[in-house]
């Protein structure tokens, strides 16, 4: 099923219609084909791209970072350049995974605790506290 309207794209992805148009203005989504009457018509590539953007946003990437990731996927950067960008994102992704795993563990603990006991002080905040930030005192 190709050539669908902005309403269908919005429905399929859960992305609001004005947001889709905004991403187009920002150059994050390829300009779609237009009907005689100037209405947008999308295909599977647009769907894939929009899905990528939405997930990236949920994961905390900025639009500029997403632009860079799209560039990588399109082989717009070559060799060393691409290497550096990919490495940078790889490291930030690994850090995010580590933090989320720590948070996940604390939430899991909470759920386990709540089911049988009562007031165990939860350590959700400690989970994402970066101890390397401690002010110097020992």
């Amino acid at each position: 099923m190709q050539n669908f309207s902005i309403g269908k794209l919005s429905e399929q992805t859960g992305c609001k219609i004005p947001t889709i148009r905004y991403y187009e203005d920002e150059g994050l989504i390829q300009q779609p084909y237009r009907t005689e009457g100037n209405q947008r018509r999308y295909n599977r590539e647009h769907l894939k791209r929009l899905s990528f953007i939405m997930h990236s946003r949920e994961l905390g990437f900025t639009l500029d970072e997403i632009r860079e990731l799209i560039g990588l996927s399109n082989n717009e950067h070559v060799g060393h350049d691409a290497d550096l960008i990919a490495e940078k994102h790889f490291q930030s992704v690994e850090r995010k995974i580590a933090r989320l795993q720590s948070l996940s563990k604390e939430l899991r603990n909470m759920l386990d605790a709540c089911s049988h006991a009562e007031t165990d002080r939860c350590k959700v905040i400690e989970a994402l506290f970066d101890h390397s930030l401690c002010l110097n005192e020992h």
Copy 2:
């Protein structure tokens, strides 16, 4: 080392000064002690809280979601209520981890490919494309 200025807090965490004041206005950070001359003085609790907020933001949580997580940590919700909130966040965290792992794998592949070969079309976008979103066609 207790009782430090907003400048020191900013330096320790990497959070800009106006942002720290903004989080205070939003009730995300406890109001700090003020000197005679009305200047803010912070302690380790503030540092921990701010560090948590910053990491949560990087991980894509909204300020409202962060408020909820802080509420959990403070035992402001009890029993079933807390359970539901924790469960909701636990699931969203697990989904984020899965997506980041997929993205991490693709970036790793890119880095490995770049080091020996040349133009392998990267699958960064496919990594975060949710196939359950596919339009119906088979």
